[in-house]
Amino acid sequence: MEKNHFLKVFINNKMGKVGLFIFVAFILIATIGPVIVNYDPQVFGEKADVLQPPSRAHLLGTDDLGRDVLKAIIAGSRVSLIVGILATCISMVIGTSVGILSGYAGGQVDNVLMRLTDIFLVLPWLPLMLVLAALLGASIWNIIFVIGITGWAGTARIVRAQTLSEKERQYVERARSIGASDLHIIWHHIFPNVFPLIFANTILVTAVSILSETTLSFLGMGDVTRPSWGTTLHFAFESGALSNKAYWYFLPPGLCVLMLVLSFTLMGFALDEIVNPKLRER
């Protein structure tokens, strides 16, 4: 598909436009925000600052340790985004490799890889992630690893199916008949044709990764030295912000997660419509 045409369809799609707008806004907050506000989670406020409602000094109030909630959210946006994106990269690399290899090689290789994928597909993801995170220890890199290593099975399945149908195309046969190597065919013919699907899938997987990170951190597996939105929610819940009716403490981080994940799903849906023309007709 031509690139300009691709962009045009994407921008003309209302969902895609809204999603892209929210996503760019969060990217800006995550890149520029922490430079401006300079938030240090280890610096606590005075006793008078504890759980104060929103005011001019603290636009979103303060938390149970007297820290500014807005600053925590701005700093957290970077953590949530980085973890979500890096974990997705791991998932996509594993999922794409397994999917293409399995679909292209076929036979026993396919059989073994698909059984492995089945296992990862049925492993209860949240308990598995929690157990892994607990065993490895709470650090941002472990969280990225855990989410990445558990989230690739669905992608592998989709990529395999697409590879199977690409493999049967005539041009692949022609390429092979003039002596192209398997690696060449995979890299120059299969991969570019599977790529649009992978790209649309990446966006949806990122949404899941961000949700996973939030949940893991909320359940106390987060890196407290680099608090994400989930970590903030963890402390809000543990410190009893709910019974103290400190709405400014537990509402905004959750809303941010909601908006960011929503932006990815909207973009994913828009892309899906482009990649699957069948959907557009309906």
């Binding site: 089945d118 209860p124 949940t215 359940l219 106390g220 819940f237 709910l242 997660v257 908006m259 309906r282």
Partner: protein
């Protein structure tokens, strides 16, 4: 559905089960922080104590022997002794099963009913207000962490209106109350956690029902039925729905397998004494045998549910022959 299909699916189940067993075994033994190193962090622990603990957990044997002993124990249904409760893992888990089944069961029934109904209306009247509402609803509930949805509901119904209990399954004050009073008390405690879980599921079910029905409604045989002059209601009820329900049935069967995953967040927020909360507590106290037991059970339930959903699919959809 042929016998070959059944046998093949069953073989896959066994392979998957074995894979899960292997992962479960190595996860808890090879990773840093195995039971013994956790237990003997105490600097006063002498060599003999460490050896004793190692022997107690069979860690002095070879990895191979350990693995076979582990499989043998699992076959007997023995998960060992919980560090924290100092009772058999079986007993601890057994006490919590009912609460989770009650919570998830209630949520599933509500979600299936509402989700299917909403999905049908949305697909039937595409682009209508109901459709747009239903779509936005499922998009938003999907994007929300379910624990946060629970927090919001607590803030709304107990913080703002102050009408529903938000923690646990029973009120301690009702210890001497009659059976009916106790049941009503449990029901009141059940409302918010079940609602949280149901809201998340409704979005998912509605979306699948909607797209399945839309897909079916574009098929040629529906056009034929229309051409024959059947009214819309008959077409929907007798022609479209039976086929559109197939993916729903398998989805529900599969989602039942993720009982513990789904309940974990909600049970944690609402202190609901089920398996999910038990797992959270086991994580906090690093209770490895218990953790392993729950992890094992939750894997088994997913594998079982997948198998059932495969069978159902083969049974309901005659096109699956292989």
């Amino acid at each position: 559905m042929s016998r070959k299909y059944l046998i093949k699916k069953f073989a896959y189940v066994l392979i998957t089960l074995f894979g899960v067993l292997v992962i479960n075994f190595f996860l808890f033994r090879v990773m840093p922080g195995d039971p013994v190193s956790m237990l003997v962090r105490n600097p006063n622990a002498n060599v003999e104590t460490v050896e004793k603990v190692r022997m107690q957990y069979g860690l002095d044997q070879s990895m191979f022997d350990q693995f076979f002993k582990y499989i043998a124990n699992l076959a007997k249904g023995d998960f060992g002794t919980s560090f924290h409760y100092n009772r058999s893992v079986n007993a601890v888990i057994g006490e919590r099963v009912f609460a989770t089944v009650l919570l998830v069961g209630t949520a599933e029934i509500v979600a299936i009913f509402v989700g299917v109904l909403l999905g049908i209306i949305a697909a039937h009247k595409r682009g209508s207000r109901v459709d747009v509402f239903a779509l936005s609803f499922s998009l938003v509930t999907y994007a929300m962490p379910s624990f946060w949805l629970g927090i919001i509901l607590i803030a709304l119904f107990s913080g703002l209106f102050g009408i529903l209990p938000t923690s646990g399954m029973t009120s301690p004050a009702l210890y001497f109350a009659t059976g009916i009073q106790k049941a009503a008390d449990v029901a009141a405690h059940l409302v918010l956690p079940a609602l949280t879980l149901a809201l998340v599921l409704i979005g998912e079910y509605m979306l699948v029902m909607r797209s399945a029905l839309i897909e079916v409604l574009t098929e040629d045989y529906i056009t034929t039925a229309r051409a024959k002059g059947f009214d819309e209601k008959t077409i929907l009820k007798n022609h479209a729905l039976p086929n559109a329900m197939i993916p729903m049935v398998t989805l529900v069967a599969m989602s039942l397998g993720f009982v513990i995953t789904g309940a974990l967040q909600v049970e944690t927020v609402f202190s609901w004494p089920g398996l999910g909360r038990l797992m959270y507590d086991a994580l906090q106290s690093r209770d490895y045998p218990l953790l392993q037991g729950i992890f094992y059970i939750s894997s088994i339930s997913v594998i079982g549910a997948n198998f059932i959903s495969d069978i159902l699919y083969g049974y309901l959809d005659p096109r699956v022959k292989e």
